[in-house]
């Protein structure tokens, strides 16, 4: 049985600009929380996102606190929104 899970990460705005991708698949250790995803993306961005406060949505709902992820989850990194 695999010790990792694969999740989909949706990227918008500055995250998309920094990673040059609007979506990516990420393999993370089983039992990982959303914090693992944020840290992985911050590493990939090479410091470009360090000053940006991001929220997280899992399967299309905001998650204000870290939650444990499961195989196939869709995690969106939400930089400060700018509608209107």
């Amino acid at each position: 049985m695999s010790d990792t899970i694969t999740i989909r990460v949706k990227c918008f705005s500055h995250v998309k600009q920094a990673l040059k991708k609007d979506e990516l698949a990420l393999s993370i250790p089983k039992g990982s929380s959303t914090d693992v995803v944020i840290n992985a993306v911050l590493d990939m961005a090479g410091g470009k996102l360090n000053a940006i406060k991001m929220r997280v949505a899992v399967n299309h709902s905001y998650e204000p606190e870290p939650i444990m992820l499961k195989e196939g989850d869709e995690v969106a990194l939400i930089p400060p929104v700018q509608g209107g």
């Binding site: 918008f12 998309k16 949505a57 299309h60 969106a76 400060p80 929104v81 700018q82």
Partner: protein, 138 residues
């Protein structure tokens, strides 16, 4: 009645209506694209959104506004995609018995929209390049 829509194309304003006999206030707001963004000249803003969340969040926000304020009707159209300078990106119409609650409800709704609805702006410059708008310009 609460009605929210995400539109990819020019916004058609809601019709004014003379049949709201109990409502003394009809407040209409149009948010338009300015010709500068991040201190630079632009030709348009491109609105990006998280499609699977936007409609749900904006509808929930409108319903919350109608509970928080004595609003009879709230209608909102938010445009996504490329919006040229001068055109409307947001159109909101609120009906209430009195002016004060309609204006307060509108102000609250737009402020919360700018915090919660997953929409982002990309500045489109005259040479066609674009960049994610800085968060200070929200």
């Amino acid at each position: 009645m609460i009605k929210t829509e995400i539109i990819n194309g020019p916004i058609t304003p809601f019709q004014s209506d003379d049949n709201h006999r109990d409502d003394g206030a009809e407040v209409v707001f149009n948010g338009r694209v300015r010709d500068t963004e991040n201190g630079k000249q632009i030709i348009a803003l491109e609105y990006e959104h998280y499609e699977k969340m936007t409609e749900k969040e904006i509808q929930a926000l409108a319903e919350e506004a109608a509970k928080k304020f004595p609003i009879r009707d709230l209608s909102c159209r938010h445009r996504i995609g490329k919006v040229p300078v001068g055109e409307a990106s947001l159109h909101v119409s609120i009906w209430a018995e009195h002016r004060q609650e309609a204006i307060q409800g509108l102000d609250w709704f737009i402020r919360e929209l700018k915090k919660r609805v997953p929409v982002w702006k990309w500045a489109v410059y005259p040479d066609g390049t674009k960049e994610a708008s800085s968060h200070e310009s929200c």
